[in-house]
Amino acid sequence: MKIVLENLTKKYPNRNRKIREDVVAVDHFNFEIPDGQLVSLLGPSGCGKSTALNMICGLEKPTGGKIYFGDDDVTLLPPEKRGVGMVFQSYALYPHLTVRKNIMFPLENLKGSRKLSREEMNRKVEEAARLVQIDDLMDRRPNEMSGGQQQRVAIARALVKMPKVLLLDEPLSNLDARLRIQTREEIRRIQKKTGITTVFVTHDQEEAMSISDRMVVMKSGVLQQIGKPQDIYDSPDNLFVARFLGNPPINVFEGRIRDKVLFIGEDPVADHIEAADQKVYAGIRPEGFVLDENGPLVCRLKSLEVLGRDTSIVSAHDQMAGTQIRSIISAERAVDTTGRTVSFTVKPNKLFLFNHETEKRIPAEGMQAVRKG
Amino acid sequence: MDKKSWKGWLYLLPALIFLGVFMLYPMADVLVYSFEEGFNSASQSYSGTGLYNFSYVLHDPYFLQALKNTFILVIITVPVSTGMALLISALLCSIRKLREFFQTVFFLPYVTNTLAVGLVFMILFKKTPYSDGFVNRILHFFGGNTVDFIEGPYWAKMLVMCLYTIWIVMPFKILILTSAMASVNPDYYKAARVDGTSSLRIFWRITIPMISPMISYLVITGFIGAFKAYSDEVAIFGTNLNAAGMNTLVGYIYDMLYGDSGGYPSYASAAALILFAIVFTITVMNLMVRKKTNYLSEG
């Protein structure tokens, strides 16, 4: 089932009554989620991603715009008529019901021609439980299970009706780190197996990158960028997206384009830039640094962290917009720690330029790294 | 109004009907009654409006007797029962074995019919030509004079009254105080013990201040409860409380409304408003007390 959002908008009256202006939680969203894909809504807390999800679900009514499931306009339909399943951050399992009863609950609400016989219900419950591998816990109550198990039950409950759309609201944030990775693989497996169009809300970029077919990056109600995780990472549309994706985060420098050359401080770092002279932010991914004695970017060495597979160099530079530079170098390269400074050249495909005012990306296709000498 | 609003009001409707008919309307009505002079129940007519009803009630010797009885009851039973409940709760908290057994036993009076047990008290204290009664036998054993506590002198009747009231109100107080004491963070006690503080000192310096919001809450609800005393008195002295000289404010209201003095709703309303003024003052005090910080986690 394809999902189409058309100018979707949600405004709330301001909590502070003195301010008349409404708070815009979701601002004119336009995008399409292709059938059978898993799409993440990614953004910091308060960016409107949960509101968007609630509107897709039908728990909240939009103040403007339309939502289509396939060709049907579902904007005004209540959740139960949309054929959606939802998994909540706190799982929202009914504490007084056993696992079996919890999963069966949505089926018992079906009315009229869709009503199921007891046997059918039991069969569907078993099926859903097997899918998430909890079929041996059916008679437990939620408080007798671990967080991961509760999460599986919540997913089974959302899936038992065979919804056309599955919605997941921060489903992993209550789990510990190891379980989180395990469960997200599990969600991916289940989604692939069932082929249900899935919308996944998270604030964790790593989670979103690892699980999604596509990502929707949001900030304060405004859509920033849509695309495949790798595409967004490799080609962020603006400084916010560049900063939000990637761990360790991107290193941002104050820079200037002069005669098609990027200067950081007084050092030319890259040239062949087809853009007008201007002040810019230059973002360099940690893996975009190459140790090079003749590199133009000379930084004060602060510390070295050996991580096994690679080495992380922490250094500083006067034009750095943050506090410190973190660069990741393959561990095979020996780093001279005796010196006070390290010098880098920059991989052009890991270097992004952003307009200093608008923070929008400045296209620089043929950019090349500069070496001294 | 949209559909959602209708739904909310629909769920509220039964409560609103009961509230309107049996609380809001009567409140307005009681005000009207209290100012209607010379109201006649039979003809539903009255001769004028004014403060005469209040003046009548305040000069009625029965009312003054009831007021006096109620005040004595309040002043004796509230401090005594609270103090005893504190002591018993502290003792309860100091033992582990049999604690639940004692707690259960102490709570028993709460679930008994006060009219029924009052009758037992009456028998225990009564002196008849055939028997001195149990309490008098004990007094006699210790060399005291026997006295009829039920139909004898005023102080004796008052004593029984207070004893029975205390017996009735203790369970609630013990329960609240024990659970308050149990919810004091044990780290305080540990800290005090590490400093070598004696148990008595711990009780006065830590336990009491910690549970003081609960104590003041109990004192104030105790006041309100004692001001509304009535059925305990009936249980011991019978329905004709005026004759026994043991009437209370609430008893006076009911007697005025329906009973031996028969059918004066205006006087009853005036007396009820006076009672309400007293209770209301205490309730407002209660609210002010509850605004204070509460040390207990349950709050």
């Binding site: 139960e80 909540f88 706190s90 | 049996f22 028993l108 029924a116 037992v120 709703p265």
Partner: protein
Amino acid sequence: MSKIKNERPTHQKSSAVSQGAGYDAAGRKAAGRGRLKKVIAGIGLSIWALIVLFPFYWMILTSVKSYGSYNSEYIPKLFTSSPTFENYISAFTQVPLARYFLNTVIFTVVTTALMLTVVVLAAFAFARLNFYGRDLMFTLFLALMMIPNELVIITNFVTITNWKMRNTYAGLILPSVLSVFYIYLLKENFEQVPDELYKAAKVDGTSDMKYLLKVLLPICRPTVITITILKVIECWNSYVWPRLITDDQNYFLVSNGIQEIRENGFGRENIPAMMAAVVVISVPLIILFLIFHRKIMAGVSRGGIKG
């Protein structure tokens, strides 16, 4: 500050003793003191337990003494060698005790059931439904919690009389149904149930009523049980309103019945029979209490602390 300083020397002294050669002796002494304290506490508590239990013992004892033997005891005996059940027979035959009993059961069950319906619906509306004027209404409800029953009972008496409902079950029950405090208690509890459960139920296509019955009430069962028990106790012991509104013995509740028995029943002096009636009336609640004592006490303390 000075008090803390005063405390120090004693502390050091006692620790010095316990560290010294007499460690075992001191320990034993401390343990002995602890045991002594426990014994004193036990004695104190036992005395109060005796005071609490004695009236119950006395009523059971008296109820099994025969009329003749009771009246011949100038000095009441603390036990009886020849218990008899004839008083219980006369309690049920000479006065309409069974009738009082039945009336009270009907009154208690119907009032409690109606109260639960009204209270649950109202609490749900306040806790979960959004409607125009909700906050204002709730404030009004809270304000009404301060109104003592004595204030409104006068008009209610007139109302019920005008409706020709004196000496009817309806007249007994209707004004006793509403308890604003329980609405408040239940609303608070409903609000503690996470929002997400409501949303989940909505996604599953659950109606508000079904959510209330199938999810909210089972989750809040402890509170529902609490208010049920409190109401049952209140109904079983209710005296004032029934006394006002009934003068036909066929509609007396147990409390009024016991008063009637005392004043006009067996003849004023048949105290054993009276006590038999008292026992019969007290037993149902005591049995209920002995079965559910943990729940009842937890409920009363919760209701009391929040109230």
